[in-house]
């Protein structure tokens, strides 16, 4: 990968601290994306994907969230050090986010159109009328008739709400879009529509995008690069081809093993044994060790360093797999 990364996250560590326990949500995560590319963050529920995205925008709930360290460089500028007023200009204009649950992401007491116009008016010097016109255009763009500007979120279906959320995220032509499981809460048919729409918009506007999902099918369709997240760490990262053809980390291999495949003649899916690790425990060594079929004593002794298997393909495992899928 080249050095001209548009977004670079370095050694990000986030914990949720309450009086009762500490959840180690994100542990020393580093990754980067080039301009115009799409990175897929893949992992189980609770692996820390959403926390990574929210850290970039600095909208973590504080307390309980505590950013223990790390840098987030957007075009070379460290977002972690920006004053709040500067950060407000970045949010919604340079970097925007699509939320996971469209049902709760819209303000129930505010007109749908106004929620879109709000972000436009905040970032661009427009009159109210122009703002409204732009918001109506955005509605049309995501396939909702502009006449529904005056309606409230409860009058919209789930899929339409998600379209509105996407319209809000795209309203100011962001450079970086964080899509947090944009299709998880939707029906499969609607999922396809929304994905199609996102891919279309992505291509037209040359956005950089981080797509958070646990659906490898979506990743295969949308992403250029993929990072696999497990227990708050990135365990494997590479191009789409690296990950799909040469999955190296046992967890990645396990994910593919749990995926149905029409072409092979396997009769049964192989699930990953065991349960996701308890994020309140601090573990030395590999977090996947208890579930890993290839684990040895060595895995638990010290933090496993990432090794570069082929240029750009990193894997945090002492015994990377070498099979080709």
């Amino acid at each position: 990968m080249s050095n001209e990364k548009y977004l670079e996250v370095k050694n990000l560590t986030v914990e949720y601290v309450t009086s009762e326990e500490t959840v180690y949500a994100v542990n020393d995560v580093s990754f980067g994306i080039e301009k115009g590319k799409t990175l897929g963050l893949v992992g189980e529920t609770g692996a820390g994907k959403t926390t990574i995205a929210r850290s970039i925008l600095r909208i973590l709930p504080v307390p309980p969230a505590v950013v223990k360290g790390g840098e987030i460089l957007l075009n070379g500028k460290n977002l972690m050090e920006l004053p709040e007023s500067e950060m407000c200009k970045v949010r919604g204009r340079d970097v925007t986010m699509i939320f996971q649950d469209p049902m709760t992401a819209l303000n129930p007491t505010m007109r749908v159109g106004d929620q879109i116009a709000e972000v436009i008016l905040h970032h661009e010097n427009l009159s109210k009328k122009e703002g409204r016109k732009r918001a109506e255009e955005m509605l049309e763009m995501v396939g909702i008739p502009a006449e529904r500007y005056e309606e409230y979120p409860h009058q919209f279906s789930g899929g339409m709400k998600q379209r509105v959320v996407i319209a809000i995220a795209l309203a100011c032509n962001p450079d970086l879009l964080l899509a947090d499981e944009p299709t998880t809460a939707l029906d499969v048919t609607i999922q396809a529509q929304v994905l199609e729409m996102m891919r279309d918009l992505h291509a037209r506007k040359n956005m950089t995008m981080i797509l958070i999902t646990h659906d490898l099918g979506v990743v295969a369709e949308m992403c250029d690069d993929v990072a696999i997240v497990y227990g708050g760490e990135i365990v494997e990262m590479g191009t789409l081809r690296d990950i799909f053809k040469h999955p190296s980390h046992p967890y990645t291999v396990g994910l593919f093993g749990a995926l149905p495949d029409l072409e092979s003649d396997r009769h049964r899916l192989t699930p990953i044994e065991g349960l996701p690790i308890d994020p309140t425990l601090q573990i030395t060594g590999c977090k996947f060790k208890p579930r890993c079929p290839y684990a040895t004593e060595e895995c638990g002794k010290a933090a496993v360093q990432a090794q570069e298997l082929t240029p750009g393909h990193f894997c945090k495992c002492l015994y990377p797999r070498k099979e080709v899928r």
Partner: protein, 297 residues
């Protein structure tokens, strides 16, 4: 796949969870200093209610015309009243009236509320509609006014006062119980229990009751406070426990005529009522936080 697993965890851990739940709540409670202070204060008041007669420095009914209206001093911590009786001793002895009104009225309100509320919650439709309309009518009269009218009808003294506060509280607890039952009946774990052929009594005992326990505990804690507060109001109007019984509200009321000259006679009982209420509210707030299912994660 992950979702299935989380459900699996829930089922397998359910029996073990129950015992630890009580401990967990206690543990969470003990971490809140305000709740601990409230609980400790409340225990002191309970102690006074039980042993007040024994630890009182003076006989609570000892009339001493030579020491009328003494201001608070070391000899008489809270001063003396119009008959020279030691207010501190009277308050210690009177704690049992106040607490029995608070707790007694809640027992009545809760029993009534559980019966009415679960009828409305379980029988559904027609029964529910009728009960709710009746509750609407009852609640169109402000609670305190209802208590006053009931007290006027039932007569004076401790038992009528408990009854008045208790009966007046039934409509509120019924609504609370019904609301929570309906919420739980709609939830999927009840559907799940029905689907594995659980009998209705078992569903009620194992699934519904444990889940309405926290709102009930919270409502009862608040209700005890409300009962004490309301009863002091009744006594102030001359409707509750009658003097010479040393009920706090009655003592407060007894001092209202001399408030311009000897304010301590009614200020002291009021202060103790306020401190009692404070302890109950602190405890209630702590319980509310400790029982909050959102925090259990």
């Amino acid at each position: 796949m992950t979702e299935e697993k989380t459900i699996g965890i829930g089922v397998s851990e359910a029996p073990a969870k129950k015992q630890s739940q009580f401990l967990a709540v206690l543990k969470r409670l003990s971490r809140r200093p305000t709740a601990v202070v409230g609980g400790a204060l409340f225990l002191v008041i309970v102690f006074c209610a039980i042993f007040g007669d024994l630890i009182a420095p003076y006989n609570y009914n000892q009339i001493n015309m030579r020491e009328v209206y003494e201001t608070p001093s070391l000899r008489h911590l809270f001063g003396t009243d119009q008959l020279g009786r030691d207010i501190f001793s009277r308050m210690l002895v009177g704690a049992k009236y106040t607490l029995s009104i608070g707790i007694g009225s809640q027992i009545i309100a809760l029993t009534g509320g559980l019966i009415v509320g679960s009828c409305a919650g379980f029988f559904g439709q027609t029964v529910d509609n009728i009960i709710m309309r009746i509750l609407d009518v009852i609640q169109s009269i402000p609670g305190m006014i209802m208590n006053i009218v009931l007290a006027a009808v039932l007569g004076l003294g401790l038992t009528p006062c408990i009854l008045a506060m208790g009966i007046g509280g039934i409509s509120g607890t019924s609504r609370m119980v019904r609301g929570n039952i309906l919420k739980i009946r709609k939830s999927e774990f009840v559907d799940a229990a029905t689907s594995i052929n659980c009998s209705t009594p078992r569903i009620i005992a194992k699934h519904v009751l444990p889940n309405i326990l926290s709102p009930i505990i919270i409502s009862v804690t608040g209700g005890i406070g409300g009962g004490i507060m309301g009863a002091s109001g009744l006594s102030y109007l001359g409707l509750g426990v009658q003097p010479p019984h040393p009920e706090w509200g009655a003592m407060l009321s007894g001092g209202k005529d001399v408030i311009q000259t000897y304010p301590h006679v009614c200020l002291m009982p009021g202060l103790v009522i306020a401190v009692t209420m404070l302890s109950i509210n602190l405890m209630g707030d702590g319980l509310r936080d400790a029982l909050d299912p959102k925090l259990k994660k």
